[in-house]
């Protein structure tokens, strides 16, 4: 039961994004790219930035998906990632604030599935966390008189993650055998699939 498939994580794969990672879990391959944009913080959270994670299950990953708007599974996964990030307090949003009430970072994390072969929540969460660790932001200077925003040339700001949530999927086969990190075929024939996300101190987040 504790045999898991090959788990490979590569960071910094996408040169044009601010932070990226590629995760391979058995046959499943997931790419995460993070783009940071400047925006004014929402009225009710003046000194906090935000993280928006979006999962895209592209048609090339599996014959199950058609091109077009995100299907139910993609939206469901996006919502789940959002819940895990909130519940585990992965990121202290105040780190993303540059000037309270005026300017903050908004991180858009786009997670694309390149090959769909089961254990998707596990792979997506790992890709998101790895990309956040890889993220490099420039320091922002706001000129006092003209309010001009100048980003610095070097990217030296890294984000501190308060915890590292890890998700593991289990599939129940034939009512007796439990398989860890199931592949696509195993998920199809299983009676139930359970995904558990935990933080460091044995707390379940989702």
């Amino acid at each position: 039961m504790t045999d898991i498939q090959e788990f490979i994580v590569n960071v910094g794969t996408v040169g044009t994004s601010d932070g990226s990672s590629l995760v391979r879990l058995g046959g499943t391959c997931v790419l995460c790219g993070i783009k940071a944009e400047l925006a004014s913080p929402p009225v009710n959270q003046q000194s906090q930035g935000s993280l928006v994670a979006n999962v895209n299950l592209s048609a090339l990953s599996s014959p199950l998906f058609r091109p077009g708007p995100p299907n139910e599974e993609a939206q469901s996964l996006s919502q789940w990632l959002h819940d895990v990030c909130n519940e585990s307090a992965l990121l202290d949003m105040e780190q993303l604030c540059i000037a309270p009430g005026k300017l903050c970072w908004v991180l858009y994390a786009d997670i694309t599935c390149l090959n769909y072969d089961g254990s998707l929540p596990q792979a997506c969460l790992a890709a998101l966390v790895a990309a956040l660790k890889n993220l490099r932001l420039p320091t922002i200077e706001i000129a006092e008189d003209s309010q001009r925003i100048t980003p610095s040339q070097e990217r030296s700001v890294t984000l501190k993650l308060q915890c590292v949530p890890v998700a593991v999927s289990f599939a129940l086969l034939n009512d007796e055998k439990v398989v860890c990190c199931p592949s696509g075929e195993e998920e199809n024939v299983s009676a139930a699939v359970i995904t558990v996300a935990t933080c460091d101190e044995e707390r379940l987040c989702s």
């Binding site: 139910e72 469901s76 996006s78 519940e87 707390r203 379940l204 987040c205 989702s206």
Partner: protein, 225 residues
Amino acid sequence: ASCVLEIVQVVNVLCAAMDMDTENEKASLRHCVCEQGLLNRCDGSARLQQGSTSVMVGVFGPAEVRMSKELSNRATVEVTYKPKVGLPVVKHRALEQLIRCTCEPCILTALHPRSLVSITIQEEHDDGSLLSCTLNAICLALMDAGMAMNYPMAAVSCALMTDGDLVFDPTAEQEKEAKATVTSIFDKSCADVVSCHAVGALTVDQLDRCLEACKPAAASIQQFY
């Protein structure tokens, strides 16, 4: 639990007050009112009110299904959730998937291959425990439609407060204050958990405790059915 049953010609109205005190925790579920057969165009419909939370469910089935969604050996289950205000967004899609995965094993889909069971949910008022109210309403609507089911599913919500107390069927305010909310769905025997959805951070022991404590509450819901 005490049950008062009044059968009216056109509309069945079931009222039951459920109060239950267990030894360790105060397990009292809010007053439940259910109305079945209120929509005459649907095959089956039900409106369930748990305290102030109210949900209306309409069921069509077995009906014709589009070729792309057709399954050769069983019925396709389709769930549509309509929020009270605004258009359905990403979190409602996630809720639809959760409800579909919970209802599929409950309905005897093998009896109706190449057809569709369509469940439409309209949220009327959300005052906490929305997911458990929705699933119980779906069960009642399926019964009204005469759909063959493996077991009547009973859903119970339980909130774990910061002081370690468990509150069953929490209101919206209690859910906001709680450390975590666990919704668990049980089958007829109330010994097996069919599905479980947890929001918030909690340890494995706390999750086990919530699941164990929800069983008597689920038994009283089964009795209500």
